[in-house]
Symmetry: C2
Subunit: 499 residues, 2 copies
Amino acid sequence: MSKSKITKSFVRSITHSLSKKSNNQYISSNKPLSFPCLDKLEKKSDSLRPDVERKKIPNLKFDVNNTITIEQEIPIKPIYNRIQQGFELFKSEEPLFLDYGGVLPEFQIAYEHWGTLNKDKSNAILIHTGLSASSHAKSHPKNIKPGWWENFIGPDKPLDTNKFFIICTNVIGGCYGSTGPSSINRETNERYATRFPILSINDMTRAQNRLINHHFGIKKLYASVGSSMGGMQSLAYTQEFPEEVGKVVSISACARSHPYSIAMRHTQRQVLMSDPNWNRGFYYDGIPPHVGMKLSREIATVTYRSGPEWERRFGRERVHSSPSLCPDFLVETYLDHQGTKFSLEYDPNSLLYVSKAMDLFDLGSKNRNRASTTRLETQKKLYDDTYDSDANRVLKDMPINPKRVRSESEEEGEIDLLDGLKTIGDKEVLVIGVRSDILFPSWQQAEIAEKLKEANIKFFGGTGDNIKHHELSEAISQYGHDTFLIDLEHVGGPIKEFL
Amino acid sequence: MSKSKITKSFVRSITHSLSKKSNNQYISSNKPLSFPCLDKLEKKSDSLRPDVERKKIPNLKFDVNNTITIEQEIPIKPIYNRIQQGFELFKSEEPLFLDYGGVLPEFQIAYEHWGTLNKDKSNAILIHTGLSASSHAKSHPKNIKPGWWENFIGPDKPLDTNKFFIICTNVIGGCYGSTGPSSINRETNERYATRFPILSINDMTRAQNRLINHHFGIKKLYASVGSSMGGMQSLAYTQEFPEEVGKVVSISACARSHPYSIAMRHTQRQVLMSDPNWNRGFYYDGIPPHVGMKLSREIATVTYRSGPEWERRFGRERVHSSPSLCPDFLVETYLDHQGTKFSLEYDPNSLLYVSKAMDLFDLGSKNRNRASTTRLETQKKLYDDTYDSDANRVLKDMPINPKRVRSESEEEGEIDLLDGLKTIGDKEVLVIGVRSDILFPSWQQAEIAEKLKEANIKFFGGTGDNIKHHELSEAISQYGHDTFLIDLEHVGGPIKEFL
C-alpha cells in the first residue's frame, strides 16, 4: 500500500468522525499564535516612557550552568540620558567646515590614550574605531571595563604601549562624548537631532587632526590604524594629511563603498526611521526608537558575523518544541539578543549619520575635489555673510526611475580612485582582509592594495613593495567582518610585525 | 605650507569674522533634514485607511527618455481585497494534517496548466514556485499577463508544451487563490489571520498531491521541477511520494535551511511584525502594514539580487546632489522601488507563514519522522474527540541564553540528512546552483548533489551517476539568487536537456 493510500483511507475515516461533531468544533484547534517577543517590546516601551515612574521589572537570567535565576532589572536609560565618563575631552571652538556643505561652529572630541608620548612626539599611533565603538579601546584606571580592542593594546601587544603612545577617539557624529546629533546646539540650547549636518569619513579625520595636531602638537603620527569604518578613516586621515602620517594600517575596509554594503546599511536606516518613536529624529524627550534600533542591529549583525561560524555554532537548532513567528531557531535568539543589547546603547541619530558617512565614503579624486570646493564655498559664504548651506536643503520628492543605471563607466571609476589615492601611494601600508567577510568582501581590500601599488608605481616611480596585503583564508577565520575584534593571532600578529 | 596650516589660518580668520556676528546666527545653517520618503509613506497610509473615501493622487512618472509626466494614481487595494481570477480551483474537503500539529479541515489550491495531458497521464510536470509567486507561470487566454517563467514554458521551450502537461500551483499559505491566512475560516466566517496553523514545505507538497493524485488522477509525475522555495518543494514532493515522481529538478535551493538564510528571513519577519499596522496579523479591516512589507521586501531584494551585477549597474551613483537619509544612492532608489511595488501585492501574513516554512525546511530523517508522528497524533486525538493542537500553544517568554550552542554535532546532521534523502536517491535528479547567489550559496546545491549521490551508492548500490549537478560560474551569471527567473540559456538549457 503506498503512503498516499494510507493517508487517504485514514483521512476519510477521520473526516467521517469529524462530520459527526456539531458546529465544526474541530476547527477551533487553530488558536491565534502568541507573540511574546512583541509583548516584551511593548513592556519595554512602557518602561521607557518619560512620563511614567519607573519600576523594577523581574527578569530571568541564565548563569553558565543554564540555571535560571530571577533578577531585578533596573530599567536602562538610553545612552544619551546617561552620565558618561572615563575619557578626556578636547574642545575646538574653531568651526569645522564639512564635505557636504554643513558646518559645526564648535565641537568636542572624546579620547583616551595608553602608553607615553616621547619627547619628540614621534611615537603616536591614532586608532580609528568601527561604526558604533567608543574611544574605550582598552581598560585603564579611569575606566576599568575591557575595551573593544582590549587584547590588542598593551605592553608587548600588537599595539605595544612600551613603545607607542596610542590614542583612540570617538568620531564626531557619535554619542560617546564627541559632538553628535544628541549634543546640545549652543544656539538653541536644544539637541541637534536631525538638524545635525551630514558628515563624511574625511570630516571625522579633519576633526581628529585638531586633537592630534593642535592639542597634542603631534606633527606626524607614527601610524594611523583602523578596522572596518576605522579602516576607511585610517586611509582618509592619510589622504587629508599625507605629511602627517608615517605608516598606515587598514583592516576589513574599502577605498570606496560598494552597492551591497550601501544596500545593507540602507535597510538598517530605513527600518530605524520607520519606527514611529524615531519621530524624524526628535525623540530625545520621548520613548526612544528602541524597536527600530533593535531591528537595525539584527540586520547589521547578519552582515558582521554570519559565515561558516554560524553553521557550526547554531546549525538548525531550535529553542522551542513548537515553531513560532517569534525567535525560535537558536540563530534567531542570538540576533534578538544582539539587537536588544544594542538598542539603548547607541544613539539612533548617531547610527543614521555615521552609517550614512560610510555610504558616502569614496577616496576617488572627484569626490575629494568636490568636497574641498564645497568646504571652501561654505567658508567663503560665511565670510561673505550670506551663508546658506545647500547640504540641508529641502529635498524634493524625487520619483524613482527603476531603469536608471550609473552614468560613470567602471573604467572612469578606476582612474578616479587611482588619482584619489595618490597621496597615500608612497606610505608604508598594511591592508588586511578576511575571506569570510560578507560586508566588506575581501576583493575590496585587494582593490585597496592593488590601487595603492599602482599609485606608488605611477606617481612615485616605485615598485609597489611598500604596500603589504594580507588575506585571512576561511580556514584561518570563520568570523566574517568581526574577525578584527576577535582574532588576536591572525590580525594582531601582522600588525605587530608591520609596526 | 602644509594643508593643515592653510586650514588653520583660514579658519582663524573666519572665526574672527564669525565672532562679530550677533546671536550666533551662523549656526542656523543646519536646518532640520527633510524626509520625503516618510512623507510619502504617511500619505500612502492615509489613502489606504478603510474609513476614508479614496481620492486620486497625482503621481510623477518617468518614461524611457526620463521625461516627467503627471499621472493620476488610482489607489491600490491590497491583494486580499481584490477579486483574483485567471486560475482554476481545486477544493479538498478532507482535512490536511500538518507537520507541526495544526490541521486545515478543508482547503483549496489555485492552479494553472499548459499543454495537454496524454492518455496514460504520464507526461505531467509539476512546477513549484518561489516564496511569493502565484500559479501564473505563463500567460494563457484566461490571463494574458506574462507569467513569472514566461519564456521557460511553451512549445520547444525548456518546459516543452508540445510534449508535456505543465501544472503550476499557488502554495497553501499563499494569497493567490490557495488557502492561506487571508482565507475565510468557515467556522468563524472570519479570515484566519494568525489563527492559521504553522506550515511546512512538506505540508505544501501533500496539499499539491491531492490535486495531482485525487483530482487529475495522475499516478506518477513525469517530473517535479522548482527553483528557490520551489526547489525545496521539488525535493520534498519526491521525499513524500517517492513512487509518484519520475525526474526531479531543484534549482537554487537546499536540502535544509542554513543559519544565514534563516537569519535573513528572520529580520524580514521581525521588521514586518514590528509595523504597528500589522496588529498581530489582524489588519484585514484596517490599514495594511505596507511599511513593514516594503522594508521586508527591501531586505529580501538585497539577498535576491545583489552581486557583481549591482556594481556594474548602480556603482556609487547618487540621484541627489546633496546627501539625504532618504533614498539617495541609485541602489537605494532601486530597493525603495522594489519594496513599494511589493508592499500591497502580497499578503503580509502569507509572507510570515511561507517564510517560516522555508526556515523549517529540513529533509533530514529526524525532522521527517517527528512530523509523521505529530500528524498521526493529531489524527488520533481528533479521532479520540480530545483534540488539542500543540502547534498553537501559548509560548512562554523564553529568556535568551547568548552562550547556548547547537546540541547536535555536524556529523550527526550529515548522517541524518543522508537518511532523509534515501527515497530520492534512486531518481534522476538535476541540481542547479549559481555562484553569485548569496541567499542559497552554491555550496548548498553541492550539498544536495553530494548527499543524493551518497544515498544512491549507500541505499541502492548505484554509482551516483543519476545525480547531475550544474553550477553557473560568476562569469556566466551575475544575477545572484534571481538567476532562475532571468537566465533562459543557462538555466533553461540544462533543464531542457535533462527532461
